[in-house]
């Protein structure tokens, strides 16, 4: 993948290689599986969607003269009778990073054709994602009981609720879809579809462990978005 040979030509690296790839009147992403390139383009468009949400949140928060709710108090959780700021959010962050790590290892073992390790690691990733969604559901329930609504909340500026539910909801939706696909791919790995090249449902493409990497890209992206949400929504 790093420097593939295509039709006997050694591809150049760096910016010179990039200029030759782009101007070659052929496929542009040489040596990159089409599914992987498409997943990257999709993730780029998803980046724009999340950026729009986060930028509108930033502008909404920066331009209101009303006091914004203090996130480290709003998202505090009682542990052993003491309120700990952002406890749940910290746990969610660690769970998501853990699942990202297991996914990275799953991709590695997939390419090494270690079917069992790959399958178990994908299963671990799926369970991590499920835990994350569960914790988020708990967080939403708690805030809704405290009276946070998209149009009002007891802590401060009324816009807080709409931004919160929109951004974390859209992210949670991505995690949920990811979990569903992780379970499907977990089954496909254990069933050996990537070892014997069984074709998938929507495609004539033969099963290959590159699909695990493509799924991994999506999962890491979900983690990546959480890094930004954690920084801008919870720490600001």
């Amino acid at each position: 993948m790093s420097d593939p040979k295509i039709e006997g030509f050694e591809l150049e690296k760096g910016f010179k290689g990039m200029a030759k790839d782009t101007g070659s009147d052929q496929t542009m992403f040489k040596g990159v599986h089409w599914g992987k390139a498409m997943m990257w383009i999709f993730l780029l468009s998803d980046t724009f969607v999340f950026s729009c949400f986060l930028i509108s949140y930033m502008k909404g928060r920066a331009s209101t003269p009303v006091e914004w709710p203090n996130p480290s108090e709003v998202f505090a959780l009682e542990a052993f009778g003491v309120p700990v700021p952002l406890l749940l959010i910290a746990l969610m962050t660690f769970v998501l990073i853990t699942s990202s790590g297991t996914m990275a290892l799953a991709v590695k073992y997939g390419y090494e054709r270690n079917r069992k390790m790959c399958g178990y690691l994908i299963l671990a990733t799926a369970l991590g994602g499920l835990t994350f969604v569960g914790m988020q559901a708990y967080e939403w329930t708690k805030l809704i009981h405290e009276g946070v609504r998209p149009w009002e909340n007891p802590f401060g500026a009324a816009q807080f609720g709409s931004f919160f539910f929109m951004i974390t909801g859209f992210h949670g939706c991505h995690v949920s879809i990811g979990v569903i696909f992780l379970f499907i791919y977990c089954y496909k790995v254990f069933a050996g579809h990537y070892d014997n090249g069984k074709r998938g449902w929507f495609t004539k493409m033969k099963g290959d462990y590159v699909e695990v990497e493509i799924l991994g890209l999506y999962w890491h992206f979900v983690d990546l978005v959480w890094v930004f949400i954690f920084a801008f929504f919870y720490l600001w």
């Binding site: 993948m1 790839d21 992403f29 990257w40 980046t47 724009f48 590695k108 990546l224 720490l235």
Partner: protein, 112 residues
Amino acid sequence: MDETKKKEETGSTHKIGIYLWIWGLLFVLSFFSYLVDWYQFQGMLRWSLIIFFMLLKAGLIMAFFMHLYWERYALVNVLLWPMTAIVCFVALMIAEGKYTLFSRLFYFFVGG
């Protein structure tokens, strides 16, 4: 099938150590960014620390977990330049937000 041929066909594999290192670093960085809130740093210090840890984490995930470090420049550049445009958009909206706040306060309290 000899080892190199197999490797070419199944794509690259990297040593497990690099993933574990990045994984550990991500934990440490997340812990540090949590500490920023724990110790209630304020002002520029808080901001620079939050953004520093955030960008470092995002960079590590993209470069190593998403294999962008090993990808060809044709793909890397297609992804990173639009993201640079987003950063410009953020900068524009910071200025816009400040202006909106200013004009709201001005017309609320000083009047037209």
